[in-house]
Subunit: 238 residues, 6 copies
């Protein structure tokens, strides 16, 4: 898995998940936006980083006991300690909203370690404390019960499903107020460039619409509108 360029990451911090889903749709990818996964509060700027994955299966009462957390090899605890800085911990909770993916101590540890964020299709506990942290957390909402009520963590860095979307380790995770889009690693560079250009165009179109332009010919732009945009772009660059 190649490193993503700084330009790619910088672009991804500025573009919307809406624009990214359109760029992926043009390439035949229709199922890239997580369902039921929301930011815990409004965060400034996008969540951006490669996915580091953690998988859960349903809990079993004789295996999933509270003593297990004392084991430093417990996959959930190990995931928190090993997700690389700048990456996003993505947790497969099978859309189970009854239990938490973690609480404020774990999220604080992620923040201290420089992790970019946490994404789960399960809940979080201590939600008010977590919402006070700078680290962006996307989840299915608050859920006080500890994860052992519903989950057995199995391993990290395998392909998972989260919010109904396939997530492979290293896929680029991008989150804004709408939610989370998963950009396949091999497409991230080209999508970033395209999306950034599309956002510039749409910002220009938005100003036209604010000024009273009708949609036909403007959005999507016809040849005339596009020429006007290109002229404006050229002027901007001088």
């Amino acid at each position: 898995m190649p490193e993503l360029s700084d330009a790619c990451l910088a672009a991804m911090r500025r573009v919307s998940t809406a624009t990214l889903t359109t760029a992926l749709f043009k390439r035949g990818l229709r199922n890239v936006f997580m369902q039921g996964v929301r930011p815990l509060r409004a965060y400034e700027g996008n969540l951006v980083g490669p996915a580091f994955t953690l998988r859960n299966i349903p809990a079993r009462e004789d295996l999933d006991r509270i003593e297990g957390f004392a084991n430093p090899e417990h996959p959930q605890r190990k995931a928190i300690e090993t997700v690389p800085p700048g990456h996003v911990l993505v947790v497969d909770c099978r859309g189970e909203t009854r239990a938490a993916s973690g609480g404020d101590i774990l999220m604080t540890r992620l923040a201290v370690r420089g992790v970019a964020g946490m994404v789960s299709d399960g809940g979080v506990r201590d939600s008010a404390s977590i919402a006070a942290l700078a680290i962006p957390v996307y989840c299915a909402g608050p859920a006080a019960p500890l994860n052992l009520v519903a989950h057995h963590a199995t391993e990290t860095e395998v392909p998972i499903g989260c919010g109904g979307v396939a997530v492979y380790p290293g896929d680029l995770i991008v989150g804004d107020a709408d939610g989370i889009v998963v950009v396949p690693a091999h497409l991230a560079e080209e999508i970033a460039a395209e999306a950034l250009e599309q956002e510039r165009l749409e910002a220009w179109i938005l100003r036209r619409v604010q000024g009273g332009a009708k949609l036909p010919g403007t959005y999507p732009p016809d040849a005339e509108t596009r020429a006007a945009y290109e002229a404006w772009r050229a002027a901007q660059n001088n």
Copy 2:
């Protein structure tokens, strides 16, 4: 469809959807409040206006391609351009939360055109930008994917279902913090008058309850309480 009076519209701007559902319940209408449709943020005052409808069916991959939006007759784009000022665009998304009904450029165009608001039982994209607009938007929540992922717009101004409620073109849409109620056009004038009077009564009752009055005899008012209210009302009018 007769025009609604200014008095009706003014009353509807002041009454709650709760009061309206009660007035409709008294006439045998029990299913008038949209399910799963929420305001994108807290708006000042009610959303009020006659419904202008747009219908969607499930998308089909060979028909619903991004090039289609260039066609000025595309029903979604045409709906945005033709919904009359003061009306509410109501979009039947079959309760599908995976995709957007529209994004910030379309919502801005509605606002510029003087449309009263947008109501959908699907999602919206660019939700943060749309929440910054003055125009009230009610929907199932944020969803970044473009509408083509799930929807094929068919036509406007036909009866539709939205949030599980029948919406006929011209029905009066009223929205507040609770959500959206659909008032059948032929009942709007009488319901508005009744609801306004009911709100006056309930505001007076609320003050009594704040002052320590017990519910029995007060809410609903018995003859004595009602007489006290009528006396207060008469005094107010002098």
Copy 3:
């Protein structure tokens, strides 16, 4: 049912529902957190009080007419008037989100009567007005339709289900930003003491983690960490 001690209630006002679910999990109770029940807004401090229950079954059109509210023995109205101050009214709405458990007049009456709060797995109407009250209200969200659309109130002070959890009259209800946990009455005293101590420990651990401590050995604490904590605790108490 014995009275709960002031110490128990005071502790319960300070601990999180997350900590309480863990303490109950250690005793084999896994299903104690209500599903789909959320605070209507962020409240300061926990909702704490013994449960006073109200049961509903589905409405029937010939029985559940608006005139019924004039009867002071109507169970919903009677519940509002009889729930003791300091208690929490817990309403079984079978998870039905289409209709309200009550509106602003009823919630105001609860507040005036000194009731601790209201918890329902149904909706509330007049949600903006209710959110402006000091009394904490937990529910499935706003729903304008009156309760008669969906509910027939049967009686008070019987065991009910709410949000998928068993609630016996007198069980201790505790709510924070995550939601509502039901603490069986016979466990409340011992759980309160244990949870308070656990919170102290976790606050100390959190500061360690904020300072860079790794999870292994810290959370859960190993013997060394626990000794450090005990030393700190001892120092605190001097």
Copy 4:
């Protein structure tokens, strides 16, 4: 609660639940058919009998232990022993499909006691054995786990919800291949007579349609068709 006449019961054994829902709809009752409740197999003839109700709330691990069944006052076991012959045991399982309402021993006991049938919006265990019994059982489908996994039986002969419908003790339960309709006790006599007559008319109409009659004028019958039917009826009675 008055006894139902033999004529009423006999009529109810012959009419369809479809016809009954229409008769109730004409009286303003729209929510009378249980959702998600199906016959375990095809039974000959209708299930007919007054409702004897059993209520469940969610289980709690410390209360709902297998030893409890040894108590002859356990409400589930007591219900089985006390439901009168000819009645229908109707069990409120809150639509929970994860656990059983009972198994083959309990259903056999009901059959031996002359109970008319069992209706639950939960599951049943030993479903193959129960399907081999003559006693009709309607439920949400097979579910092997014992009821204690999900249910705590509270009491009998109170109003309940089952399959989303209000059931008052003594309401008449009627089941056929479509499912279960609940006929309020006070309407049972008049509905039975009306439904029986409607079925005679529809059987006659069906033969006309089989013979090639068009729907308009035939179904519903216009004056001419109705006259033809009345003539046929008169001839039948001679």
Copy 5:
């Protein structure tokens, strides 16, 4: 819309819906199989015919009264009388399982008129009687309540959604024991030919697998297997 050839229809009667979904998947169509729509019983042979559509929106109590059926222009009744012989009536019930799309008199009329079948994502009433008819009926299951409880029929022969799939008038409907696939009209001829050939190949492969062949090289066939098949096919044709 061109007529479909007899060869196309004959092929469609022999191929499985599984094979058809694969052929459509190869052309980029992934959402062609109705969800929650099942045959009422096992039917001999496939249901095959062009779609004739009927649309419903949610009922409204003041509009949807039983007297409306006397109007020969009522869209549901008109649909029954006007769907051409050999076509399939496809009814959009928005996946609503609480009410019926129709009962035995209407289904009998369809059968008498030579209609190929009925498909609905709602229920049917009189399900035992309908299951006794030769005409294939696919639906969401039995539901006794009349359609007016939930539906208002709007018009026929417009594009609809059914079981989550787009259905355009004239699309080819094919049903077998698995359920219903919608083949877009413009693809029906080529898909029929391809599917028939694929079925021949898979029947041959199945015999190989029954005889002990391993999957690799056999399914899908590698060059060697395909050559063996072609040789067998050539021999068959001699």
Copy 6:
């Protein structure tokens, strides 16, 4: 993982899943019965065998193309070829009912290989053909679309969730008409012996109940009843 004894397997073929869930409940295991997983038809005798697992995540359009099946290492195809005879293939489909886990060729290959059965919380295609096979298949029901519409197979023999239950490779799968129970491997021997004995007792109790015995004292048996049973058992063994 130790081999299971022939006595264990023989016992498991005779006991019901209901009895097994009770035995597991007594050991604190409450979540052992798969939800939404049903036998495709009535099978003679129980499905019994150790689990061999296959995991799926959501499909991605650029990865999950039909050409992939030609690869003999494709995990789904490899699973079919490598599940040991006598084992049960258990497939994690995340409860997704839109697509098939496999079709008749794959199920035939399993049968030819001597595999005990297939269990999936997704659908199957060619359901009528599969129902005609002797090999028992448990699933969420028929679904014609190929698995690539929804699934990407990742690997075999890892812990998975299926029907909401944890399944570890080697856990004992037991299925009857009610559905599937997962018996943890380490408990299988003791559970088998206990369940067999419990079934003998319950068969004897059932005969008593058929003969008119009341539940109290009989089920569960009190000391007197248990003595009678033991006497009968002793007599049997002579």
